[in-house]
């Protein structure tokens, strides 16, 4: 498995225009992802978003609640209607005391492909090899859903086992 990228594919049973709107409309993107943006997406735009619990899943919304209002910047890269949306961000950059601006970003790409069964969506996030290890550990700890406690247990265990 590559340490630099994550690739996911999902088949969506919806018209491609519907999928494109869910991705390219900043309000729609925000409602499933769990963020609120102050402007529409446009290529090259620096988007200031804040974490807002998702409206799609009550369980996930609960885990996002502690992070509500935390600002999160993404820079839109390319927008090709019903084909591709890409942006750059700092993964897991939710500590308000850290200035992430100077740190490397990862590139998130959504690619759409129409098939007989529906829309095949491929998500690729790449550039993790450039992210400093210390930041990876932090992103890891600051994760939603009580990961801090879980990771503390795991690291404690791994430490004890050595």
């Amino acid at each position: 498995m590559s340490t630099d990228r994550i690739v996911k594919t999902v088949l969506l049973h919806a018209p491609i225009s519907r999928v494109w709107r869910a991705l390219s409309d900043s309000t729609e993107f925000g409602s499933w992802f769990g963020m609120k943006f102050n402007a529409p997406f446009a290529p090259g735009a620096i988007m200031r978003g804040v974490i807002v619990p998702t409206t799609v899943d009550a369980e996930v919304a609960k885990s996002q609640k502690p992070y509500e209002g935390i600002p999160f910047d993404i820079v839109i890269d390319r927008m090709e209607p019903e084909k591709l949306l890409s942006f750059r961000w700092h993964p897991g950059a939710i500590d308000p005391n850290i200035d992430y601006a100077a740190e490397p970003t990862t590139l998130v790409v959504f690619e759409l492909q129409e098939t007989a069964e529906g829309v095949l969506l491929t998500l690729t996030e790449s550039g993790f090899d450039q992210i400093p290890l210390a930041r990876r550990a932090r992103a890891f700890q600051s994760n939603e859903g009580g990961w801090t406690a879980q990771m503390r247990l795991i690291s404690q265990y791994l430490h004890n086992a050595q």
């Binding site: 919806a14 996930v60 969506l121 791994l158």
Partner: protein, 107 residues
């Protein structure tokens, strides 16, 4: 949905419970233990502990070894190492986000 590591998602589900986290913690700190010892000092019944251990065993997080009349439970270090892998976490977040997207566009 295809995922780069479906087993990891399963593992996270096994960890996503307070009682099970406590069991991980106790097994971390004190090594292999019988259900009787894991139950000591808790308000949880042996049956409940046994049920949690079975969930954790199915995801490969712990395994039981017979010793005489009792079974000693211990953690699987390899599985925990996998869980502590950064990309797995990000990967899991994307799985969850894409499920939300699917729900959003298919509803």
């Amino acid at each position: 949905m295809r995922s780069s590591s479906p087993k990891t998602a399963h593992l996270f589900a096994a960890l996503g419970d307070e009682t099970r986290l406590r069991l991980v913690s106790r097994l971390c700190g004190a090594g292999p233990m019988s259900i009787a010892r894991l139950t000591e000092g808790t308000k949880i019944t042996r049956q409940a502990i046994a049920k949690h251990l079975r969930v954790m065993e199915r995801s490969g997080l712990v395994h039981g070894r017979r010793q005489g009349r009792e079974t000693l439970w211990q953690l699987e270090q390899r599985r925990l190492e996998e869980a502590s892998h950064y990309l797995d976490i990000v990967s899991k977040q994307w799985d969850a986000a894409l499920l939300r997207l699917r729900k959003f566009v298919e509803d």
